[in-house]
Symmetry: C2
């Protein structure tokens, strides 16, 4: 149990799906062992450039984003501990977006060559990565709906709900609160809004008694109502499919 609590979120992502063989475990361990700390806000991967590796997030928060010609920015997704950023290096000579940490974070390099080894020699692990990618897609679909068909209030509420649940699955929430190291500008660039407007909406949410924040800690005071106004349903995050249930996180949480 203490043994298990020490698992990185990356390893837990696999163990949620099945028990790892010791070979597989070794392999994943080796991957993680070469981790390095990266400073906040300094891009790790640049749109249009070539890389022969992807990044495994071990700690912290990364964003994937694009900058338009006129300087506007759209955040495409967050990358939380246990997720992989930049796998598209596999499919593209020039990756089609940038990646940067929001705060000082810890990442491990995953060389494409190693990735191919993984696919060849540990097909079960390969399948898991494939599944992870499919779940990524489901998340992106939600981002599309949010951007295309929800108003500002619902967009922000929905984003917070999503982040809360994603973090919760990883044992990274604290009761109804979580740490969100994003500026209002970041939130604006996630939701397709502008900074001043995000500010006004956040104030309204506070007045409505839906949330509270000091510093970078957000507390969801009324999650059910937030879910209601934003049309948030957690299925795409928590439905683990095919009868495989997510391992209970309480252990890690209270560790």
């Amino acid at each position: 149990m203490t043994e298990l609590a020490k698992r990185s979120p990356f390893l837990r992502g696999f163990e949620q799906l099945f028990a790892l063989s010791s070979d597989e475990l070794d392999f994943l361990h080796r991957l993680e062992s070469q981790s390095k700390e990266v400073p906040a806000r300094r891009p790790l991967l640049g749109d249009g450039k070539s890389y022969d590796y992807a990044l495994i997030v071990l700690q912290g928060w990364l964003i994937e984003y694009k900058i338009l010609r006129d300087g506007r920015r759209q955040v495409l997704n967050f990358r939380l501990p246990g997720e992989i950023a930049g796998i598209d290096s596999l499919a593209y000579a020039a990756i089609p977006h940038s990646v940067a940490p929001l705060v000082t974070s810890k990442v491990a390099v995953l060389p494409l060559e190693t990735f191919h080894d993984l696919q060849r020699e540990y097909p079960r692990l390969g399948s898991v990565l494939f599944l992870m990618t499919l779940r990524e897609e489901a998340i992106l679909h939600q981002w599309e709906v949010r951007l295309g068909r929800r108003d500002a209030y619902a967009r922000i509420a929905h984003l917070f709900m999503e982040l809360y649940r994603r973090l919760h699955l990883r044992g990274l929430t604290d009761g109804p609160s979580f740490h969100l190291p994003a500026t209002q500008e970041d939130i604006a660039d996630c939701t397709g809004l502008t900074t001043p407007y995000v500010n006004r909406i956040l104030q309204r949410m506070r007045r409505d008694g839906l949330l509270r924040f000091d510093g970078q800690v957000i507390e969801l005071l009324d999650a059910p109502h937030l879910a209601e106004v934003s049309g948030f349903k957690p299925g795409y995050i928590e439905d683990w499919g095919n009868g495989i249930q997510p391992q209970r996180m309480e252990q890690a949480h209270q560790a």
Copy 2:
């Protein structure tokens, strides 16, 4: 060559990446052989339901979409010939979106079991599907940018450019024209706009001499300018990565 021109878009998707062994070819052929015709606009997969199969599109146009509680709709993506709809059945017990054909189309069923066989016995094919999924993701990223950070004019222009290039890769364009079996309401639900507004924008584009359409055929009169105003860059569609170049399509095109 005539041999090759007869290949389905699905097969060609694989052959763009490497030469198929005869075993692999047989396997894919068997998949396609069980195709059936599906009528326009009648949903094939329903949001929240369970399926033990995905669909390979052989002919026609499908959309993936979500309906919100209040009836609004967001189209998430198109599925063109050669693509697979509903692979998320793999990752979710309840798929998180609906799928429907825009017009009478031809699809083949891909049982999940068969999919697992594929992954096990034809790892190279599995890799291709993985790559396809990564490219899906890049396309979804573009949809996010479009919805989040472009105005109505650019959204529509960008959408048309994307569709044109995606179709072109499959040899489904006709010079500067292509068949788009979507109503203005469909376009509105792709771009996060409303039908009347889409209508007005389309008129402006016509007046600006950018495009023309009769019936469901759209002709791009000034693709460079369309690309310019919408910030469209085709890299995410055509960059085939890792030195693998897309097979020339002219052959199929003029067939």
